[in-house]
């Protein structure tokens, strides 16, 4: 079946004066349109520059670290990270004691901070009375607002003496056989550094875990409760299991923070580049060797060795953070990793 196209009515013929008036009106309308198009583009360009500046900053940091450390990279190669010698006088540099110290202190911090952080997050999202939730979460987040140097000050004068007098004798008596808790008890050492790091890592783990737990759909909780689960069973089955990727992300983000934390650790770890099994012994971390020695390091090679440590720290934290962010995003937003099939 076909219909005949309706005849369009003949266009009215405009007189000359009418068409010039319309042209004038058009012109009048177009001028601001051109201007506002330009302003819009300029505005967008300005914002784009701001956004791209983040990329530029990150690549600039990377570029500077690589070019300034090439002396050390060329001299020592990969051996730099495996050698235990740190002898500025002889010009022999190896970063292994610092890598060891960073890993061990961060590990202590995670062992202490992860259960606590998870406990806080679970309590605040699932168990806490509504009226307490706001004040309590604000208070736990205040932990993150205390500057590192203030924690360090407190750790030197309060925590380290406490650890020396009360904690280390007890640990030595009951767990001395493991070899981890033996030797002279200074209070200043890996253990204190790990504890103060844990205090600083807890708010990160707990706040991101809270974010992840809140993103678990409410109906999952309701379904578990409807099947007769107790509250804890509901949390374990419906909440924690759904959020495990995000929780792992939160833990890894905490690790990222612990690896790069500088001031508090520098103030209590004892700053001695050695590898000792006992956690009572002083150690040294990558960040604290930079903090202590960089400003006064004489000689190009010394400086460039320290910058190479910084470069290593930079690369490791970037990998750690990128991985953790992807995990967190995969649970809270489903971007850019794949969304879970519900």
């Amino acid at each position: 079946m076909s219909f005949a196209a309706p005849q369009s009515p003949p266009r009215p013929v405009l007189s000359v004066s009418q068409s010039t008036i319309i042209a004038k009106i058009r012109n009048f309308q177009d001028k601001p349109r051109v201007w506002s198009k330009f302003a819009d583009d300029a505005f967008k360009l300005l914002l784009l520059i701001c956004a791209v500046s983040i990329l530029v900053i990150l690549s600039l940091i990377c570029y500077e670290l690589i070019t300034r450390s090439h002396l050390s990279i060329a001299q020592f190669g990969f051996k730099f990270f495996l050698s235990e010698n740190w002898d500025p006088v002889a010009g022999d540099f190896g970063a292994f004691p610092f890598i060891y110290g960073t890993l061990v202190s961060s590990l202590i911090a995670l062992v202490l901070a992860v259960p606590l952080g998870l406990g806080v997050a679970v309590f605040l999202t699932e168990m806490c009375p509504r009226s307490l939730r706001g004040p309590l979460s604000f208070t736990t987040e205040l932990l993150a607002a205390v500057p590192s140097v203030v924690y360090g000050l407190w750790a030197i004068f309060v925590l380290a003496p406490f650890v020396r007098r009360y904690l280390e004798p007890v640990l030595a008596r009951y767990f001395g056989w493991t070899g981890l808790f033996s030797g002279p008890q200074f209070g200043i050492g890996m253990l204190s550094a790990g504890i103060i790091l844990a205090v600083m890592v807890v708010p990160i783990v707990s706040s991101i875990t809270r974010e992840v737990l809140t993103a678990v759909p409410q109906h999952q909780r309701e379904a578990a409760l409807a099947l007769g689960a107790t509250r804890w069973e509901m949390i374990r089955i419906a909440v924690l299991r759904n959020a495990r990727a995000g929780i792992l992300g939160a833990i890894i983000l905490g690790l990222g923070r612990a690896l790069g934390e500088t001031m508090a650790v520098t103030m209590v770890i004892g700053n001695n580049p050695q590898i000792v099994k006992s956690l009572f012994a002083p150690g040294y971390t990558m960040a604290s060797v930079i903090a202590n020695e960089f400003a006064e390091a004489p000689g190009e090679l010394y400086k460039s060795a320290l910058i190479e440590i910084g470069l290593a720290l930079f690369i490791v934290t970037i990998i750690v953070n990128a991985g953790a962010r992807l995990l967190v995003w995969s649970t809270t937003r489903g971007v850019p990793a794949r969304v879970h099939a519900q």
Binding site: L47, I61, T262
Partner: protein, 298 residues
């Protein structure tokens, strides 16, 4: 019911009630453990704040706030130059970090919904995780090595960089809370997009954006590591932004590690001043955020 059957039922019920009791016990145990975690986490916070007040308030006097440090070992003096120096460095940091951060946040909220936006978001999260000492090192390489002198500008640059990701993400979050209908209404009235973004969307979210800025400010105000080899510290007054400048966190650090009792006391006082500055900022932020237009949406 036959008695044997009843016995079986009774046994069954007992078994179930035992299991139930065990489950209920586990539930209570988990609650207790979680509550214990909260208390254990709050303990160091309370301990730190108590010690700060107890030890700091005794040394906090007029001389501390108005005088510059004495030579090593001499009693007296204060941290006036460090407080002012911190102000200068933070001002430079804010001048660099705040516009960049807000601009980036607006871009992410209004123009970047796609792959490119996600890339920027991702990079900004990653930059947020870069250790502050590494950022300080980069600022050293960019400024101090090129100009061959320490300066407040180098330190301010490092702090400014650290502010950008925090501000960008919080600005984005706040702008996304502004209802879409407001944007559409503005565009429907023929207002160009840049104007609508600046005077309508951003205006509506002002309280939230300021909150983000202040939180970023509070976060970098206590940073020490990026200043160690950029502003270096200074025992005297200095108002030249191209010279080594004293900063409060640096002063606390070096005084805490010094062998002098009087300097230890001053370190506590300095830490108290620093924490009051930071907590004050955070509290103001909360007050502003509560009164803000978007408070209902949070």
């Amino acid at each position: 019911m036959p008695s044997s059957n009843g016995e079986i039922h009774a046994q069954e019920a007992k078994r179930i009630s035992l299991r139930d009791r065990y489950r209920r016990f586990k539930n209570h145990l988990a609650t207790a453990l979680a509550l214990g975690a909260v208390l254990l986490v709050l303990a160091p916070l309370i301990a730190v704040l108590t010690y700060l007040v107890l030890k700091g308030i005794g040394s906090l006097n007029l001389a501390f706030l108005t005088k510059i440090p004495t030579p090593p070992g001499e009693v007296g003096g204060g941290m006036a130059n460090a407080i002012v120096g911190s102000g200068i460095i933070l001002l430079i940091g804010s001048v660099i970090g705040v516009p960049l951060g807000i601009g980036c946040g607006i871009f992410l909220a209004e123009y970047a919904r796609g792959r490119f936006g996600n890339a920027i978001r991702f990079v900004s999260d990653v930059l947020n995780g870069v250790p502050s000492i590494v950022i300080g090192m980069a600022a050293y390489a960019i400024f101090v090595l090129r100009q061959s002198h320490y300066s407040a500008v180098a330190g301010g640059f490092a702090l400014g960089i650290m502010m950008v990701p925090t501000i960008a993400r919080s600005t984005e979050e706040m702008l996304l809370m502004v209802p879409h209908s407001i944007r559409e209404a503005a565009l429907g009235l023929g207002i160009p997009q840049w104007r609508s973004t600046l005077s309508i969307t951003l205006r509506t979210a002002t309280a939230g954006v300021i909150t983000g800025v202040m939180l970023a400010f509070a976060r970098v105000a206590g940073e020490t590591a990026p200043l160690l080899f950029t502003t270096l510290g200074n025992a005297f007054w200095n108002f030249n932004i191209n010279q080594a400048t004293a900063a409060l966190p640096l002063q606390i650090f070096s005084y805490a590690l010094s062998p002098y009792d009087d300097w230890h006391r001053q370190a506590w006082a300095g830490a108290l001043v620093l924490i009051i500055l930071i907590m004050g900022t955070v509290s103001v932020v909360r007050a502003v955020a509560k009164r803000g237009i978007l408070s209902g949406a949070r």
